[in-house]
Symmetry: none
Subunit: 194 residues, 4 copies
Amino acid sequence: MNSFSDRQKEVIDVSIKIIAKKGIQQLTIKNISKSLGISEPAIYRHFESKIDILLAILSNFKEMTKDSIERLQLINLSAIQKIESLFMNHFKNFTKNPELASVIFSEEIFQNDIRLSTQVLEIMKYNQEAMLGLIEKAQRNNDIKTNIPREQLSLIIIGGLRIIITKWRLSNYSFDLEKEGTDLWKAIHKLIAP
Amino acid sequence: MNSFSDRQKEVIDVSIKIIAKKGIQQLTIKNISKSLGISEPAIYRHFESKIDILLAILSNFKEMTKDSIERLQLINLSAIQKIESLFMNHFKNFTKNPELASVIFSEEIFQNDIRLSTQVLEIMKYNQEAMLGLIEKAQRNNDIKTNIPREQLSLIIIGGLRIIITKWRLSNYSFDLEKEGTDLWKAIHKLIAP
Amino acid sequence: MNSFSDRQKEVIDVSIKIIAKKGIQQLTIKNISKSLGISEPAIYRHFESKIDILLAILSNFKEMTKDSIERLQLINLSAIQKIESLFMNHFKNFTKNPELASVIFSEEIFQNDIRLSTQVLEIMKYNQEAMLGLIEKAQRNNDIKTNIPREQLSLIIIGGLRIIITKWRLSNYSFDLEKEGTDLWKAIHKLIAP
Amino acid sequence: MNSFSDRQKEVIDVSIKIIAKKGIQQLTIKNISKSLGISEPAIYRHFESKIDILLAILSNFKEMTKDSIERLQLINLSAIQKIESLFMNHFKNFTKNPELASVIFSEEIFQNDIRLSTQVLEIMKYNQEAMLGLIEKAQRNNDIKTNIPREQLSLIIIGGLRIIITKWRLSNYSFDLEKEGTDLWKAIHKLIAP
DNA sequence: AATGAATGAGATTTCATTCAT
DNA sequence: TATGAATGAAATCTCATTCAT
């Protein structure tokens, strides 16, 4: 799809790490190039501008999001199981890749450019629509209460997902995200089950 | 408690507005002074440094948070009613003061300085403890399911609160926050009611 | 009219000198600030951008041009004498201020920005219209041949003026501009007299 | 004489076009290579440095100038006819090749290097001497007034030539150069004829 | 309390050029 | 003959802050 060169992937990678560790304000061309051990102008062989680096990060997220949702659709699971899987996969992924957590839910970072914020909104929308679709199916299967509108159910599930990750991040990854995530899912599941 | 001068309050005010409208990267001494119609050095009569402005913003939030929670405790309401009130008050306040929404839940903004992030964590903690206390009481009153640990209930309630405000902000305040907030509360209430 | 501060005038001044001596490519903020003995950022207190410095130079030229033409109109001279005066004044001014010569007829310098080239064209137009008006009057007074269209006469006079200044400049100001200018005017006068 | 390779000629060509369209400041190795559809280092296979490209442009002009003057000398025309031919040929050539006009009379472009400005001065000198020689002959043939020194006549002719081309270029080639050139020549001819 | 002038540090970006392949 | 990757130098401009007034 979006075929980034090896160097481009490296740039994207260290950029995410820099944002995660030191915040967007420290994402400078100097810091990126220092991390890669090359000169500052060398970055411009691989990206036309700094904004393009941020766009590449988002483009990467978008692909990842789409892929994981599409893969999920193909699996032979019930809708409620797919919701659980979607929910829990986030924790697995972020545990493996904690930097991602800092960037993926930090809409503020991408506020200052229309192209960036458009991408962010599209990613959010994509996630929400997937969740809504699954909730609808699960309700039809009678695996989720039907007396609660799916829009609100979706907000509650995604809201829970986001806040636990935010807490984990702000606590400096000091608790076991997968364990706390499982507990949260159990609670949500108990609440929404008919 | 912290007694800010009139000018200091003005600085805090326009700073919040700038962050809300243009992001933290645009919060510069130049932009602040331009918004206030004074010169840049004049800012330094009122704040020793830029960090002090951000600390003042957070200090302000902290006071507001404490105040509203303390006031809530004094009112003659049941615990579940207090939770509802806490939940709904946010929407009222943000509808009146949309800029606040952009800053109050943007922890990323305050990531790059220990003094700042410490303040942010304290505010979060304060809110959570208040919520936990109320949930406990509501459970004792049998107004909330008791078979779900209050830690998870708290996450779900605050998570829902945060995500709806985030959506509202990213949508450029394009929907009726109070109405959507009411719908969300109804759903949560139905779910957590015994 | 355009009221430049003292510092702004200094910037304009050294900028003209730099262009004259080293060409437009050496007109850098660094060189300007070095010439003035201040730091580079200090320049930006006085001009918003480099383009604004160039615009100020042109704005200055425009004023000078307008002024000198307007002053000329008021003097009690015949049209042909005014043409001579216009012609010869250039040599006097440039002899006093040789750097001006390098910039005033270097349209190429101002090619890369629409605002700049617009200004250049306006200055040229202004000069040409003044010259056309004077030629017309002189022809009516029978001081200039009437069997030659004034458009061509204007081109010949201004063309002569420009080329002699160009030669003087490229020769590193190595000949007496006023003397050569007088000789040229004598020749032109002899040719265009009826 | 100077035998440029095909690639070198291409480089010279696009360089002239770039200078004409966007000014000398946009004549960068990057822009040259982009125009040619090759990589930047590839340019250095054909020219040792950027200055060498500019020198090649001037060297080309010099050859062209010499050629056309030498060819003119061989033709069986009177001196005044040769002057007319020299004058009018410029308009024909520039109409065919408008970019040339932007560069050939832009001495400022070549100001910042001694080797470049030396070349420019030589070309000018060559042209002037040819013109002076022709005027002298025409005066001896009694085709041009003899009471005007040929130095001034030369200035007037070449000055007229240059200014009309400058106007044409700054007007974005918006008028018929050959027609206006003819009108100008008629005027000059009428003036200088005995 | 406020300002005009200034600055050191640093940001993004461009440029001519080099080198290994 | 050509390219991908890289770089030192330098350009424009921004930022937080200081100081004399």
